[in-house]
Amino acid sequence: MSSNTVSIAITGAGGAGVMTAGQSLLDAAAKAGWYGLMTRSSGPQIRGGEAAAFLRLSPRPVGCPDDRYDVLFAFDWMNVERFSAEIPLDEKSVIICDAAAGDAPEVMTKSGARLVSLPLKDTVKSIPGGRVNMIGLGILAALSGVPMKAVDAVVDDALARKGKEALAASKAGVQAGFEMAKAINVDEIALDASGGSEKGRWSISGNEAAGCGAIRGGVRFVAAYPITPATEILEWLAPNLEKVGGTLVQAEDELASVNMIIGGSFGGKPSLTATSGPGLALMTEAIGLSVASETPIVIVNVMRGGPSTGIPTKSEQSDLNIALNGLHGDAPHIVTAANSIADCLSTTQWTVHLSEKLQAAAIVLSDQSLGQSRAIIDKPVDSGLVAEREVVADGVKDYNRYAVTPSGVSPMAIPGTRGGEYVADGLEHSPLGRPSSAAGDHTIQLDKRERKLTQFDFGDRWADVDGDGDLVVITWGSSTAPAAEACERARAEGISTRMISLRLLTPAQASRLEGLLKGVKKILIVEQSHSKQFYRYLRAEYDLPHDAEVRVFKRPGPLPIRPGELLSEIRSWS
């Protein structure tokens, strides 16, 4: 809802300070008590190429980029066409650029946006040690309505240790920017600064949130191999885990990392790894070992463009297939999906809890757009869900590791437990854990491993359900925010819609979803994949009402699905 938010794109060559400007603006908005979201984009250069920061600020929580940008701030025009598809502009948009940067390229101006050229480089000359990006920060703060005080506080925090002169130069730059902004008529853009409230706000990326959720859930052992766009989970965990008595091992590859966490979990420590598609592919054999041996592990998979190496730095929801069905044999496991940056925390925490409780392999799906974006959110409430593995006590007698139980969960012996000595096995086995190829044992254990998942009551977290109406939008993961915003806008227009975002993908909660879909006439499925992976999954696992019309809005990455596109879809159907 553009009226309530402001969206800003900042672009420039490497070294222009695009990210610093964007990050500072986000921080300042947070200090002012607003919410916000910042995503990043850059060219193919490893370092130092053109970069873009995309911000959306609002006094209300913000889940995804808006349909359009109010402001494009271009430090220069270097390779800006690379980003043009990501920066929808229109006649109400303002393009601000440095007068020294030359003519704005056609791909930007053809939108009809108002072009404001300002003497940035010239101005900065008059500020000793000043940098253009601080002027930009000042302009953008003024434009968006972020109070000067908040910007100052951020600059103070960031530059305190750089010395007085640097600080003064930056502040002067920001001030100059504020002044310059007056020349632009900004009333249509700027938000009311009074909307904010400063209570317990967090600034966090989805990857940090996943790491934090892991620790809250009780994870104390992590082994992993770096991969874009999951690495930040590990980079956050490494120094933090050790503070709470855990540890992280950088493994030689993903085969090692997943087997290491099986070892750590066998040793009684809730264990986790994080990766992305190519790494997940390498892990599936051992995930099957976790399933067969009933050794709980959690894998956070941060999706990127596929197939193969694909588009490592961009988002896509195309690892759904492999997460659900990528294991050989009949291998029931858990797949959950985080549907917002904040939810990366709570879904990871919940998944650790489930994995431990059910002695199951569990995959949390996140993606690049959640993991590598930073949001200002409310401090997430702690669900209190932690690892609670069912174990046997020291001195246990006649222990059967894979005993048949009504719940399907068999109490586990942790090394150190006398009488519990057993051998975990990936071969099919008897209740005692001895290899067996007997049909009876196979069926008993297959039933047990299935039962522990299907009989468990997963509670309300299986999905987020919002609104009412007989047009239902079903979606998941990062497509949730645009879908939710589209539904909200539709409702504002009088079109009643219901939004269902599945958090628990498998075991499928068929009766729950089917219950919600009774009598529904229109189903819109929204996903960011090329081959309709989510749609196929829904068909396979749920009886969608026969008489409902089902439409699929799907598109692969890298471009985000925007709320307005979905709104059009909904409108055109009503």
Partner: protein
């Protein structure tokens, strides 16, 4: 560890009552005995000990012991063992397996476990063949062995030198034994467990079914006449020119051990403060 109480466990009590699937005469029977003897000699509490393996005839060994164990997937024993050891440093962790499991599919973990040098003992039952899958060449098979249908003219490839590779990778204790000498092997394993860091014990363990000619190993193996060294340069030269049948300890080093501390210094709330605006 309550040493005296524990020491009371006889070797046979480290064996389970589960009958091995091995062929009669397989060298692995004797390696199983050596492992349990070593455990008994060290008086390891059963519940504080774990045997981790991959897949292969030799990798079946955990189920035949009475300690904790993990029979994982093919080639990944050392990774699993590393995770266990790092997460639970107080346990004695012994990884076991075959030449195929350890040096073919598991080669990368072999390199990196040796290099990382966590306090793990790795016992490899080397029979120069894939027994479990019915007789294909393994990395240690000589190039002219023509009995596998997969390589009907022999592999034509020089054998893998596990000890030289272990040394170059960073292993801290390197020994070779022969399954025909179970007491000798037991001593090597016990010492390997006691020596800090990554210890490799290669046990020449005949596959009587697919490599019946290995029964001759009892004639060929001999105790090494040169004592072990702690000098990596000298050890490298020696292992590169070794014929593969010298038994005993061949290298003992003092390389740094990998074991991150697991002490807690903060609470989750402390960590979370960093997110506050």
């Amino acid at each position: 560890m309550e040493a005296s109480a524990a020491r009371a466990i006889p070797a046979k009590d480290y064996k389970s009552d589960y009958k091995p699937v091995w062929c009669p005469g397989c060298g692995d029977f004797s390696v199983l005995s050596s492992i349990t003897k070593a455990f008994a000699e060290l008086g390891l509490p059963r519940e504080e000990t774990a045997v981790i393996s991959g897949i292969g005839c030799s990798s079946r060994i955990p189920a035949y012991t009475s300690v904790y164990g993990f029979h994982g997937v093919h080639g990944r024993a050392l990774a699993l063992a590393t995770g266990l050891k790092v997460a639970r440093p107080e346990l004695t962790v012994v990884a076991t397996g075959g030449d195929g499991d350890g040096f073919s599919i598991g080669g990368n973990h072999f390199l990196h476990a040796a290099r990382r040098n966590a306090d793990i003992t790795y016992v490899v039952m080397d029979n120069q063949v894939y027994g479990m899958t019915k007789g294909q060449a393994s990395p240690t098979t000589s190039p002219d062995w023509e009995k596998s249908k997969l390589t009907p003219h022999g592999t034509g490839v020089s054998p893998f030198q596990p000890l030289a590779i272990a040394l170059a990778s960073g292993a801290n204790y390197i020994a070779r034994g022969f399954s025909g000498d179970p007491n000798g092997v037991a001593r090597l394993i016990a010492e390997a467990i006691q020596h800090p860091g990554f210890s490799l014990v290669q046990v020449l363990s005949p596959c009587v079914t697919f490599r019946p000619e290995q029964r001759d190993w009892k004639e060929i193996t001999r105790e090494a006449t040169v004592p072990y060294t702690d000098d990596t340069g000298r050890a490298a030269r020696r292992l590169m020119t070794d014929d593969g049948f010298n038994t005993g300890v061949l290298f003992k080093g003092n390389r740094p051990i990998y074991q991150p501390s697991l002490e807690q210094s903060s609470t989750t709330e402390d960590l979370e403060r960093a997110f506050q605006v």
